[in-house]
Symmetry: C2
Subunit: 221 residues, 2 copies
DNA sequence: CGTATTCTCAAACGATCGTTTGATTCAAAC
DNA sequence: GTTTGAATCAAACGATCGTTTGAGAATACG
């Protein structure tokens, strides 16, 4: 294992494959995007995927790992800036959770595509993928839940996990721009995402703050 | 076109195909579930799909139409029971929106599978499917938005659509049981969904009631 | 009855899938 | 300059995909 040959090109073969796979997985899904589409978009040979990653499944895992590592550390960094402080508000913690995903979706290098890939991953029932995501998300989820518990002492631990779970679902949904409502055509994509994040933070803060009710809420049928 | 031959079997070939397709689409996705899997699970001949439905895409559309017609009419019926009345609360309207989906997910005939299919449809970028869903969902969405506007006169129309959109995303996410948090093993599936619906109604009501803010909420970065 | 229509079935179609192979090209090591 | 190993390439592998075909079975209708 010496230093890589062919290194004097714009981006390495592995990175080009990862970028192309990210974009195509976002558009056509994991089963819907073929390795021939991916390698053609990356302008590399078909065999390069199995050579560099081993298999299509391993490629999928690598697409996730590259972005999730960054997203997780960013969320934790934002959380640690406000966690345990006196003046910290619920909106601050939610912002630490949501903002990094928004920033990621605005990254030039395909972050917007990855957010859609992430939403697909939630919809996929693939057990291998679910375990992979749970390991990554569960780590930061516990730390956020602890901080929410500090700011909302009246809520049970399980209740907090419930609400944070809903926030995550709504976040994934909104960030991926899967809404039924079409945004106005004159509103740019990133302004749309920014507006969505603001709405979501207000929405989520109100939902998290809502006092717990002992019994069933609306019509108990 | 006379009455159908072969009618004297447990369930018709078309219905068996639809049921098997629903279950397999929920598990493996639209591209991930093959017609050979579907016809094998339905115990019908491979060619039966193209004979009865024309193509795989038409089969997918029919899987949606069968359930969405029922879900839409149920939601509208529930809405019309409370719309325009004096004592109607926000929770009542949200219940009219969420409860039919919960009931559908508890249907014996594969409704639980369809809810997962529905969540997949939101994650799919398929334009044909998006248009099909938008036509069905847009219809009831307008009526619900009108009632929400009556109960929340302080909110702009666009704001209501934003929030209702987020509720729909969170609903789809929660109903499909795609949460990160694993439910306790001793809690049955339908109890889990019931609890999720109650949480979602409380969460959504608080979010819908949250007064509008003129400027950006949390950290404006 | 016989004819017509609807439906089922086994088999095959061409296309595309993920993966593997073996030769070739390239850059560094000695 | 020769050797070495990593990287790329065209080509093909077997498997599976959605779809079509044509013959046969089952029902409906005269």
């Amino acid at each position: 294992m010496t230093s890589a040959p062919y290194a004097s090109r714009e981006r390495s073969t592995k990175e080009r494959i990862l970028g192309a796979a990210e974009a195509l997985f976002a558009t056509h899904g994991f089963a819907g995007a073929s390795l021939r589409q991916v390698t053609a978009a990356a302008r590399v040979n078909l065999a390069a995927v199995n050579y560099h990653f081993g298999s299509k499944d391993k490629l999928i895992e690598e697409v996730f790992r590259r972005r999730l590592d960054e997203l997780n550390s960013r969320r934790l960094a934002a959380l640690h800036k406000v966690a345990g402080k006196d003046g910290t508000s619920l909106e601050d913690v939610l912002d630490a959770y949501i903002r990094p995903a928004l920033d990621l979706s605005r990254t030039d290098g395909g972050g917007a595509a990855f957010v859609r890939v992430l939403a697909r991953a939630y919809a996929e029932h693939n057990e291998t993928l679910r375990r992979f995501l749970s390991e990554n998300y569960g780590h930061i989820l516990r730390q956020f839940a602890a901080e929410f518990g500090r700011l909302l002492p009246g809520l049970a631990k399980e209740e907090i996990y419930w609400r944070l779970d809903i926030v995550t679902g709504a976040l994934t949904y909104a960030m991926a721009d899967f809404g039924i409502i079409q945004r106005k055509s004159d509103v740019a994509e990133r302004d749309h995402r920014e507006t969505a994040a603001e709405h979501l933070i207000r929405f989520a803060a109100a939902g998290m703050r809502n006092p717990s009710v002992s019994n069933a809420p609306a019509s108990p049928r």
